[in-house]
């Protein structure tokens, strides 16, 4: 009964979202406020309704109702409750429902804002989320229904349908298959929600952009309303990406955090265009320029969000042919095509209204540098988009599948990332509109010279890898320039208000959250850069088969094999756990326990590394293989990952900076 209830509520939600779309368009065109208000209320109602459906599915998972196919496929009785919560988005149908539910939250929030000043936007701002919701909900209702159950007739034939087939009865499997073991990690509790929150919150700026295009109110009002939404979206997307990286590092057992996997890139692409947008909107706010470009970026980001979901949900990545097997792929494709065509059509229609109010006057002005920043982000985006899509194209054209792997991306994006670092060091020192090379040079030469200290120090200590030296120089430059900017602001405040240092730091940041929060984000990014340089350019590894007492050496560490034990854990897995003694420069510093978990329910293995992590480096040991009977010999792979912890520290700083930038001002 409760299953039908959950499904019925979904159908009502779908009907309401279609109604909201139609009523908002009708009310908007015919200028009928009652219709618009009706659409708004429908929107408000969808959130509690989809919440009920989501809770029903969660209840089924937690109760362990394995007659429901989705519950059977993603959970099992041996899973702890917190993992059962994550099973909600651990499979296709559930994750689409979860996506729709998060979208409903944001649609609810945007419907609740004070619309007095921007009433003309309202119908069109309702239209976009309600159409997006209708799309996702129809997918859940018609194609990937999480409430489908197992039935068997007298002949033993099994059906997977929503409603009882004639002559068939419900079957209740004793246990489920369990969640994919790779997803049984604390990072997986927060990674998908954060990523999806980032995805859906980008829908709101897009909705306002469409509203601005339709109403012709193409001044910067829509930008001002949406900048916080964009920042929130960017923050969630960043958190999602970082958690995904951490999860890969902890769980996938290949010594790295980012493999340039198409699924990762699918999430990175909207982040790239979103970051470009966050920078270029500032030029529109300050100077009324690049309105057309900001529209393009907003539309692009929205469709990259849908495209990213499409890439990961349609199965197109494993093969172009898998794409045609499920209706999900073609529908996504159609939806992307329609939204893109409609918004580009609107953009062309309003193109002339979006002309810049001002023009550029100097290559070294801040607006020019922001444009170069955008070019670089677009460059990385092009590399990513093309790298992900080329294998699909190649398979279609020549029937030959190819792999576009890390070497391609590293070579293609490396110089672009470096150029972005350089801009990060230069741009804060330039002024708006009028700036000369000479004036920029005057402020830049000191930090540029001082920051040479770090590559010189690195070279003296024996590092001669040019990209690393360049990276260290740029990172130091950015840190110096950013601190200089802070110090300049603080100095001015102390002088004009007589505050002490800490108050003036506090007030400076509090009164210019976006700017100074942004600087903290820059610091976070370069700290992450230290970690990335460390692991990408200085990672070393070795592998060997050891008998107890033998050791492997990597960098100044040695690990010696002590023992290995195989046992069954109470949560339904078989564990092979090795004990290794670690010493650094000959001094014992502790033990590591790399292990291999085998999950009986899902018939899958997982490699969990033993990691010793410090700010200087990580020692990362994987149990590759062992002799099952005697457990006398085992093969280990040992990675030395210098500086990688800075990646995580930098991420925290980045999140902290974003929170400062997002925090609402008192006046607003």
């Amino acid at each position: 009964m409760i299953v039908e209830f959950g499904y019925g509520i979904l159908i009502i939600s779908l009907t309401l979202s279609i109604f909201a779309a139609i009523a908002s368009v009708y009310g908007g065109i015919k200028k009928k406020p009652t219709w618009v208000e009706s659409a708004r209320r429908a929107m408000l109602l969808i959130f509690p309704l989809t919440t009920i459906s989501t809770l029903v599915l969660l209840y089924l998972i937690i109760r362990g109702d394995y007659s429901v196919a989705y519950v059977y496929s993603v959970s099992s009785s041996s899973m702890p409750t917190y993992l059962k919560l994550t099973a909600l988005w651990g499979g296709q149908a559930g994750s689409l429902l979860f996506w729709a539910w998060l979208m409903a939250i944001f649609a609810f929030a945007v419907s609740l804002r004070n619309w007095k000043r921007d009433y003309e936007f309202l119908p069109w701002v309702i239209l976009v989320p309600s159409l997006t919701l209708a799309f996702f909900l129809s997918m859940v209702v018609f194609i990937e229904n999480p409430f489908i159950r197992f039935w068997a007739d007298g002949m033993g034939k099994i059906y997977e349908t929503m409603f009882q087939p004639a002559g068939a009865d419900l079957i209740l499997p004793p246990d489920g298959r369990g969640l994919n073991p790779l997803l049984r990690h604390p990072g997986m509790i927060f990674h998908p929600p954060a990523l999806y929150l980032g995805f859906v919150s980008f829908v709101i700026p897009f909705a306002f952009a469409v509203a601005a295009l339709i109403t012709g109110r193409t001044d910067d009002r829509w930008i001002r309303i949406t900048r916080r939404w964009t920042l929130v979206a960017w923050l969630f997307l960043s958190i999602g990406l970082v958690l995904g990286m951490r999860w890969a590092y902890d769980v996938l057992g290949w010594g790295g955090y980012w493999g340039w996997d198409p699924v990762e890139i699918a999430a990175l692409m909207p982040w790239l265009s979103g970051t470009a947008l966050l920078h270029s909107v500032m030029i529109q706010e300050k100077r009324g320029m690049f309105k057309q470009w900001n529209m393009i970026l907003t539309i692009l980001t929205y469709d990259l969000v849908i495209y990213g979901t499409f890439l990961t949900r349609s199965g197109v990545l494993s093969s172009v042919h898998a794409f045609a097997q499920s209706a999900v792929g073609p529908l996504f494709f159609g939806f992307i095509f329609i939204t893109l065509a409609a918004s580009v059509g609107l953009l062309i229609y309003r193109w002339k209204d979006l002309k810049s109010e001002a023009s550029l006057h100097s290559v070294f002005s801040r607006e020019s540098l922001f444009l170069i920043n955008n070019l670089l982000f677009m460059g990385i985006l092009i590399v990513c988009f093309w790298g992900v899509n080329f294998p699909l194209l190649s398979e279609l054209v020549s029937g030959q599948k190819v792999t576009v792997g890390p070497p391609f991306y590293l070579r293609a994006t490396g110089p672009l990332w470096a150029a972005l670092l350089l801009l990060m060091g230069v741009a804060p020192l330039t002024g708006w509109t009028i700036a000369s090379a000479e004036r920029l040079g005057r402020t830049l030469w000191k930090p540029a010279l001082i920051s040479l200290v770090s590559p010189i120090a690195a070279a003296i200590s024996g590092i001669f890898i040019i990209p690393a030296l360049l990276g260290f120089w740029l990172i130091t430059l950015v840190i110096l320039v950013t601190f200089f900017e802070y110090w300049r602001g603080i100095k001015a405040r102390i002088h004009s208000t007589g505050e002490n240092f800490f108050f003036s730091l506090w007030n400076l940041t509090a009164k210019n959250r976006r700017r100074y929060g942004g600087y903290i984000i820059h610091i976070g990014v370069v700290l992450m850069g230290i970690g990335i340089i460390g692991i990408e350019l200085f990672q070393t590894e070795t592998q060997g088969t050891l008998t107890p007492g033998e050791e492997l050496r990597v960098s100044n560490y040695s690990v010696s094999y002590k023992e290995l034990a195989e046992f069954d854990a109470p949560d339904g897995r078989n564990v092979a756990r090795a004990v290794l003694n670690v010493s650094k420069n000959g001094k014992p510093i502790g033990e590591l326990y790399p292990r291999r978990d085998f999950f009986y329910d899902a018939q899958q293995t997982m490699t969990i590394p033993g990691v010793r992590s410090t700010m200087e480096d990580d020692l990362y040991v994987i149990l590759v293989d062992w002799q099952p009977i005697s457990t006398r010999m085992a093969t280990f792979k040992v990675y030395h990952n210098p500086l990688v912890n800075w990646l995580w520290v930098g991420s925290l700083v980045l999140i902290f900076g974003s929170l400062i930038a997002v925090w609402p001002n008192r006046e607003e």
Partner: protein, 178 residues
């Protein structure tokens, strides 16, 4: 007599040696890995991984061969070890595997035919973008400065006002110092 004792001793010694030899042989057959280690030029795991790192098996998508935990991939690594032992270069091994299993085992598409697109299109597009941007900046620079402060629709801009104050204060200080 003495001689006999010695020969008996010798015999005993010989049997012990033979037993040890037999036992060792038995142990060696039980641990084939050890056999390779005792060869003149043992191929280390690191040598194998250096080649495997740049290869992908056709089944496990996007997992480099050196870290892929499946049995099939372990066999591939043994194949690589075999080839290195036979004196093949890493490139020869890669070409061989690509011929056997298709180009998808390589970390990057081989530079031939349609694959050139993957290498040429992104730099071409970035270049076009850069040229477009450069031309636009040049064109715009020629225009006179009409509107340096943008009239916003937002009447309240406390942040901007505040920044102006700070900038003014800074200018004052700079001119004093200079």
């Amino acid at each position: 007599m003495i001689k006999n004792v010695t020969s008996l001793k010798n015999l005993r010694q010989n049997t012990t040696i033979a037993a040890i030899l037999l036992f060792t042989l038995f142990m060696l057959s039980a641990f084939p890995v050890d056999v390779t280690a005792q060869e003149k030029n043992p191929v280390t795991d690191d040598e194998v991984n250096a080649v495997a790192k740049e290869l992908y098996c056709p089944v496990c998508e996007n997992v480099p061969l050196d870290v892929c935990p499946t049995t099939a991939c372990a066999q591939w690594r043994e194949l690589i070890r075999e080839k290195i032992r036979e004196g093949w270069t890493p490139d020869e091994i890669k070409i061989y595997l690509a011929e056997q299993y298709g180009d998808r085992v390589l970390a990057e598409p081989p530079r031939s035919g349609i694959n050139w697109l993957v290498y040429l299109l992104p730099p071409a597009l970035i270049l076009v973008g850069a040229i477009y941007l450069g031309l636009n900046i040049q064109r715009m620079k020629k225009k006179p400065i009409i509107n340096t402060t943008h009239e916003s629709t937002d009447p309240i801009q406390p942040q901007d006002e505040y920044m102006k104050k700070i900038e003014a204060e800074l200018k004052k200080r700079e001119s004093k110092n200079g």
